[in-house]
Symmetry: C2
Subunit: 433 residues, 2 copies
Amino acid sequence: MKIPPVKGTRDFYPPQMAVRNYISDGWKSVSLRNGFVEYDGPIFEYLQMYQIKSGDEIVEQLFHLTDRGGRELAIRPEITPTLARMINQQINALPRPIKWFSVPRLCRAERPQKGRLREFFQWNIDIVGVDDILADAEVVFCTLDYLRSVGLTAADVIAKISSRKLLAALLLHLGIAEDKLDALYPILDKKAKLPPETFAQMLTEAVSSETAVHTILALLETHSVGDIQSVVPNVTSNSQAQAALDELHQLFDYLKAMGVADYCRFDMSIVRGLAYYAGMVFEVHDAVGDLRAVCGGGRYDNLLRDFGGPALSATGMGMGDCVLEILLRERGLINEAMFKRQMDYFVACADLNLMPKVLEIVAQLRAAGKATEFSCKAANLGKQLKQADACGAKQTLIIGQEYLNEGKILLKDMKTGTQQPIDESYLWDTLSD
Amino acid sequence: MKIPPVKGTRDFYPPQMAVRNYISDGWKSVSLRNGFVEYDGPIFEYLQMYQIKSGDEIVEQLFHLTDRGGRELAIRPEITPTLARMINQQINALPRPIKWFSVPRLCRAERPQKGRLREFFQWNIDIVGVDDILADAEVVFCTLDYLRSVGLTAADVIAKISSRKLLAALLLHLGIAEDKLDALYPILDKKAKLPPETFAQMLTEAVSSETAVHTILALLETHSVGDIQSVVPNVTSNSQAQAALDELHQLFDYLKAMGVADYCRFDMSIVRGLAYYAGMVFEVHDAVGDLRAVCGGGRYDNLLRDFGGPALSATGMGMGDCVLEILLRERGLINEAMFKRQMDYFVACADLNLMPKVLEIVAQLRAAGKATEFSCKAANLGKQLKQADACGAKQTLIIGQEYLNEGKILLKDMKTGTQQPIDESYLWDTLSD
């Protein structure tokens, strides 16, 4: 009986696996050169863990199950709760700074859409326990260091940066009650996803004052830190807002020093839905703007405390593989040629009786670290040379009796097509180079 | 509120993650040099898929769930059903030979024991569609190529090899009915796990004839292909058995040619429980014999057909990370020093005003591919040098005003401890080497 894969999941055949590896290997190597160290947790956790951070609504979006011991578990939809749990568990033993990355496999029981699947991979970087805006700069830089490394320029992607601290100060300044803020953020976060009228209406329902709505709408259009004062003239008198502005200026100065200013832009419409963000927030979008965010992140407080730990501040970023892959393909930055298979040697057998000799050479080449293939299926020389070509062999060694009688092997360079007999000993000599 | 990890799962803090990466990177690089290409499937599949291969009992050992659409799903306990499903789906489009590997994360709802956890990683290699015993030799060789590459010698591990084809022929020869064989294999497979009397009793219950039981017990003690004839004198007259014996001789000849004969031993007690094995079967055990099998595999027929595809023969192997890691630790082949963190540079800031200069240098080093760390937290020079040491920096660049005034940076070699001022331009010149 024929069974299909589950909707919203992917089969990684060798060509798709090569692309997945290209993406996750890139994430890993950039993380390492930026001083992050790798961690991972289990694929499932107690269901409750996700409710702590995201409330009961999250249960709908989770693959959850009850095990034989009656435990309610869920396949992880994100790794941040696991990160919080793990750090809390060893809070006093962990070497500081805690600068960690992970490339977890995650699952969400959502309706599959373009750039959003039920199973995906996500690059996460987090710096825990460092309040300084320098750590935020480091997170944004590391993100851009990766995107730049795969060929995305400032003409392809934009890092839109804002500050929850600034937004909160301005909203309070406009007379919004402090206890209304947490409910307001998810609404503000929807701006880009809704028609302007719908958004304005939702905002008016949430904020009673007409003037406040008007000012908020103007603020969300602000794309320069300097422009804020023209929307909220007396902002300089507000010390909270001023501190947040100073911090943002500092952040942009650092990013400029790091050589990524051309990728970065202040954008007050970046809010991030979750209540737990408390400082810098950012998202990277494709410049055309027709895809979902490539990644998002920011500074979050209290997460560790919510999981039974101390009140450590942290800043981080998460980037999924789905939107990224679409973008890389659209920009022509992924192509088949990048993933062409390569083997160092193919060893061809001109006479089945010589198979033990073929195997001896194959095994020795592999033990010397050389990627070496041969045909497990009896086949004529022509077929074997085709297989050598198909597996990307640079050189083919042909083992035939007449050459072997003279201690020789026929060496065929697969690029030039030239053939020449070489001493078998010469092969081993060149290997040790 | 403090939440624990789920029983039988592991948290991979950076030191544990380094060990996991060491193991899986080794699996991957040996697979590639042996000509296997990587694939992967989703973490969950339709529950039914696992019932096809292993019957309803498997449901007990699975983490299964019902999604919102009412689909019965299960977290994969093994990847072979996924392999069969994927190959069937593209049977006509896939380049041959199908020589694939994977390192899936798997979950089984078992009681955690030494070497057996509820979540683990398993290296899988499979050659599909090649009947030749050469393919079996290739699978055994690739397995041993890995074990040898991590330092395990023939004194540490033994590949115990047998043949289901031979076993079936001998059992039929002894008068066991063909329809009883599938039920007999799981019993024979339990030999090593049961006290001799219990095993003999189970065997007697399954096989009515006393003589047959006696001969089977003697056969299971056979450790040389040549000894079979002394247990079953008229075996040469049985063409099925003789063909299986010839194939085994061929297999051992090939393994000898590949230079791994010292690891390999014929052992008729290796049966493998599942009904689907149909040719060579093998397991690698630690030489001391106090651990579970390090890995197991063999030739299996009909699996693709059971999943709605053609009757292709295949041969493969699966190796979990848990027993392997225990063995490597016991043999002293894993130690902390192997995983010491290494960074190329640490850039220290002698004066907070110079942070933009520090960041500029950090960013340029990273863009040049150099692993570079700095302190995101304001700290005095002594603390920064300690951090440089802790992250394994080979060199520390100290940015101070008096040196900078002369276009210089202080370079500290972390191994020798020597310091010398260098021209900043000299740094960039050496990078391009």
